[in-house]
Every structure is written in C-alpha cells, then in structure tokens.
C-alpha cells in the first residue's frame, strides 16, 4: 500500500524547477527563502547536503521530487520527507534522506496544511520523531534508518499561491528550517542549518488509498 502512495506522490509533487541561490553566510547550501524554490539544504557532519532533483531506484521507478508529504487521517499522522544527497566531503554523492513523523495534527484535507504555518515541532519520542537514511519506496528496509534523538522542524511559512497566467497550478508554499542529531551504535550524525522551500500543488499531499479514490 505504501508503495502505491509514494508512486502517486511522484506524479503530484514533481515537475517544478529548482531555483538554487547560495546562502550568503554558509555558501555551500541554499539560502533560506519562502518563494517555492523547490530546494532544501543542510550541513551534515560538517559537509553540505542538498535535496535532489531526481532519483531512480534499484528495483525500478524514479522520483522527480525531493519533498514528500503523506497524511494519514485515521492514525492522525503526517509524514514529511526530504530526499537528498551529500554534495561534498568523503560521502559526496551518497543519498541521504530525512523524515519527520508528526502526530495529532488532524490533517483531513489539503487545505489543512495551513495549520502548519509558524509551527515548531520538537522531537519528543511521543508525537514528533524523525529518522534519517535512504528511503526506497520500492525496497523498504527500516533497519537501515537511523532514529534521531534531538532536533526540530519549524514551518516558518505556509502560504497559498494562486494560479497565474503562465499556467501554474494553485497550491501551497511550505518553507522552514530544521536541525537534527541522530545517534546509532555510538555514531552521531548532526544535521545543522537545515532549510527547505517547496511549492506543492493542490492534491500534492497524499492521503490513504480509500480517501483518495
């Protein structure tokens, strides 16, 4: 089932062009913006990380978007994922994804995304948690993911964008920041200075199969 949801998300969230403008302070990552630039960045263990523009998987299928949002009204959960790769350092080129699981938000339809505006969610092991690793929707192996024990995600701006004369679709811009510290087997991974700025078209938040159809 999950595979199916993700497959749909590829169609709905993809297709927008990335606008990469370097941060004037941390030159290796994208600057923080609230324009729907379709880009995110972070410093992972001192090296730069950036969201991907596309990725193909070992057992088939390709991803054309790097921010995925899945809503599960039955379990009152929202899953926000960022797909990316390391840009420099010894792990240059390696895929690395971040996933936040938020509970208790009552996201029932797409426009409920507005309630994220200005909200900060701090990891607490109860209704906010996060994990990092490489998410493969076609070959899921949760043991390969590293849970995070400290961190947060801040949705600084969630705003509606109407369609324009150039043929763009209405939807929401989601912009914010995040930071994580994740430890597994004594190995600490720090994700600092995280930021994201994405435009998601109406219908771009994935709901369970029986709600969608």
């Amino acid at each position: 089932m999950k595979i199916f949801y993700l497959s749909i998300s590829l169609l709905l969230l993809g297709g927008c062009n990335e606008v990469y403008i370097p941060d004037p302070v941390e030159l290796r990552i994208a600057k923080y913006s609230e324009e729907g630039h379709q880009v995110g960045g972070a410093i992972v263990n001192g090296d730069s990380w950036k969201t991907i523009s596309s990725r193909c998987y070992l057992f088939g299928g390709c991803d054309a978007s790097s921010m995925h949002i899945q809503a599960f009204p039955d379990t009152d959960s929202l899953v926000v994922s960022f797909l990316g790769s390391m840009q420099d350092g010894v792990r240059e080129g390696d895929d690395l994804d971040f996933q936040f699981i938020l509970k208790g938000l009552s996201i029932q339809d797409f426009h409920d995304m507005r309630q994220l505006n200005g909200q900060k969610y701090i990891l607490n092991d109860q209704d906010v948690w996060a994990q990092i690793g490489r998410f493969d929707p076609y070959y899921e192996d949760s043991s390969a993911l590293t849970p995070c024990n400290r961190g947060q995600i801040l949705f600084r701006k969630v705003k509606h964008r109407v369609s324009d004369n150039q043929g763009s679709y209405p939807g929401y811009i989601l912009a914010g920041t995040f930071g994580l510290e994740c430890e597994q087997n004594g190995s600490l991974t720090t994700i600092y200075q995280g930021r994201f700025d994405f435009f998601i078209e109406n219908g771009g938040v994935i709901f369970p199969y029986d709600t969608l159809f």
Binding site: I21, Y32, G46, V90, G151, Q193
Partner: protein, 206 residues
C-alpha cells in the same frame, strides 16, 4: 533598475571628457560570519567630465560613470580539503567628487559614489552561480583619491573607496533552525590604480 542605469549613464556619456580604466584591489570588511577572506584583483572602466568654472578656481567638480567589479575570496575547510569560493559583484557607479588643483600636476579629490548592482555571482571551482535578490541593489560609497599629471593628456589616478552602508541584511539561524536575528555586513573596500585619458578640453579650461 534599467531606468536607474539609464539615468546614471546618459549624462556622463554625452559629456565625457576622460576615459578612465585600471586595476582594482577589492576586498570587504564587516563580515564576521565568514572565516577569513582574501582580496581579489579586478578591473574598472569609466567615463568622466569636469565642471571647472573659472569662478570656482582652484576647485572643480568631477562626475564619473564607471563599471566596477568588486568582490572577495573565502575558503571553507572540508576535512583536509579547502574549498575556494569567490563572490563577485558587478556595479555601475555614478560618482560625484570635489577636486582641488593643488599644483598643475596634482589634484586630490573627495567624493561620493552610488552603485547599481547589476549582477552578483558565486564562483566555486568551475561553477558560476547567479545570486539573485540577496545583496542590496544599491551601494553607497565614500571615496578619496589623487590624480597625478593632471595637466597632461594621460594621467594617473589612485583612489580608495569604501561602502558606507552594509550591502547584506540577512536573517541568520542557529544550528537547529531557530531564527537568531538579522545580520548586517559586507562593506566593499577598494584601491584603484587607473589611467585617465583626456579626450578634449572645454574652452574655459586652461
């Protein structure tokens, strides 16, 4: 921005008396968020005209329009590797200076310059990335210089200039993404050595 450039360029171009071109040693100050920075060698090219009325003698005014490339270099440590970044700012400046004929051959001057930022880019390795909407579109600067052999058709002009107002206002974040307040910085600092070629003299000029 195009209208501003036209306003800046048109009068000086029509009345140009001098052609001015040279090298520029350019750096920045007021950048506490950068771990060290290095200067760059760039160039400048411009046109100028003097308003040199006999009743003002020995003082006169000089208006100048010039193109200038400013910027700086910085390096980021990535393990044992150092990665080099170069910030480049392309400006069109309009300058107004008050000059004093100290001797027939030496003319010191003081002035203000107003720069319109045409383009900013980051160079990293072989990659050039256009930076849009990050730095202030206008640079306000103060300058001081001396023109040597000013009574000759070709003279030497040495000038120092600095930004009066920081060119960057940006919101910074802590490691976890909490807003940490606005930072202001990036003031340009340049030292120019240029040749000035006089194309003609006005009738009242000696």
């Amino acid at each position: 921005m195009k209208a501003l450039l036209l306003v800046l360029l048109l009068p000086t171009s029509l009345l140009a008396q001098h052609l001015r071109g040279g090298l520029m040693y350019t750096d920045v100050y007021n950048v506490p968020f950068v771990d060290g920075h290095l200067p760059k060698l760039r160039y400048t090219l411009g046109l100028s005209f003097d308003i040199d009325l006999p009743v003002w003698d020995p003082y006169f005014l000089r208006a100048e329009t010039r193109y200038a490339e400013k910027g700086y270099r910085t390096q980021v440590n990535e393990g044992s590797v150092q990665r080099d970044f170069q910030l480049e700012f392309y400006y069109i400046y309009q300058t107004f200076a008050a000059a004093y004929k100290l001797t027939p051959k030496v003319t010191p001057y003081l002035g203000l310059e107003f720069g319109a930022l045409v383009r900013t880019q980051l160079k990293s390795g072989n990659r050039y990335i256009n930076i849009k909407g990050t730095y202030h579109p206008v640079d306000l600067g103060f300058l001081a210089g001396v023109q040597f052999f000013s009574n000759s058709p070709v003279s030497l002009d040495i000038r120092a200039a600095t930004s009066v107002i920081p060119n960057l206002t940006y919101e910074s974040f802590d490691d976890f993404g909490n807003p940490r307040g606005r930072i202001r910085g990036v003031n340009h600092l340049t030292l120019e050595v240029a040749a000035m070629i006089r194309m003609f003299k006005l009738r009242y000029q000696q």
